[in-house]
Symmetry: C2
Subunit: 199 residues, 2 copies
């Protein structure tokens, strides 16, 4: 061990964060060592707050400091439309895109049997309860278009069939700003299949 | 504000770390939200420890959890040779390289008048006291070869002249693994000037 023990411990803790290797962790730890003022106190306080003040919204399962969350509590958001996402950050990305005025349901993952993630590990039961009870008219499946995201949407679609709600899937195709020549053939086939009348 | 307040606060705190932009900060914060077990407790504890358990070694000014630090307390390290570095991380890099058996002195920065860093902001006074009192025979200047590092070494060399110690500067030249053709001309001139008898 090269560094003093408390520094080494902090480097180890930082290097467990995603995308932070040992070199970056060391750089962050040395920044913390040199940090002026009450920055470290602020970081410690905000980390502690996360576990004490943030919990799952009992309705949509997103992270929130209030229950129900701001979106579920917002009377202006259409409660009859529920957009199902794999992760909280997908929900944040859709919110940042703007334009969607319905509500959400966060699964907290995708089905991944090889990683030991089955239906019971996801918030699927809560979705079924919500669709069964709440006058939901449309469920938008907005999981990713990777293998796990697709499997998760297919699985949930099967479960929701008996509920007689409108089931939709967000569109797949060429992203805005991309060139056709660089797209893979599966995406291009989908884009072709999903073509719409030019207005 | 898109995220719940405690999450937003943590993102802001993370994004003050060096090299961490807002997107990465959000990714880290969401990892923290989902973190299992006592990882967050461990991170908080190690951050708190840093301010309580780590202080400057009263001899070499490096960060340490004991005083004097492990290197200054090591009787096997030559107390007559002091290697002056700008930062704690430079000292760590030299230690990782191995082979040096003297001691260190950490300045905690380089002279940078335009950034408001003058001699009083660095641990220069402590270096002079140490060289004056301790039977130091050689001072190795190991600040960087950027403009600020060079200016700092030159300034310290001037101050140390009256002390009649041997003053050396680490070598500048072509780094191991590098091609001559890609080196800038200043480096090549230095490498030429610093040539040694081939053995």
């Amino acid at each position: 061990m090269l560094y003093a023990e408390p520094i080494d411990r902090l480097i180890k803790a930082f290097s467990r964060l995603p995308g932070i290797g040992e070199k970056t962790a060391a750089r962050l730890a040395l920044y913390i060592l040199n940090a002026k003022g009450d920055y470290v106190d602020e970081l410690v306080a905000s980390l502690s707050d996360i576990s004490h003040k943030v919990a799952l919204c009992s309705s949509c399962m997103s992270f929130s400091s209030v229950d129900p969350c701001r979106i579920c509590a917002d009377e202006l958001r259409d409660a009859a439309t529920v957009c199902v996402v794999s992760d909280y950050k997908d929900m944040m990305a859709l919110e940042a895109a703007g334009g969607y005025s319905g509500r959400y349901h966060v699964l907290h993952g995708n089905l991944a049997p090889l990683k030991g993630v089955g239906p019971d590990e996801l918030r699927i039961k809560e979705l079924l309860e919500r669709v069964g009870a709440n006058g939901v008219e449309e469920v938008i499946l907005a999981t990713g278009f990777d293998a796990e995201g697709e499997a998760t949407s297919t699985y949930i679609a099967g479960l929701l069939k008996p509920y007689h709600v409108k089931l939709t899937r967000i569109a797949s195709g060429v992203p805005v700003g991309s060139y056709v020549e660089y797209m893979d053939s599966v995406t291009l086939s989908r884009a072709m299949d999903g073509r719409k009348v030019f207005e």
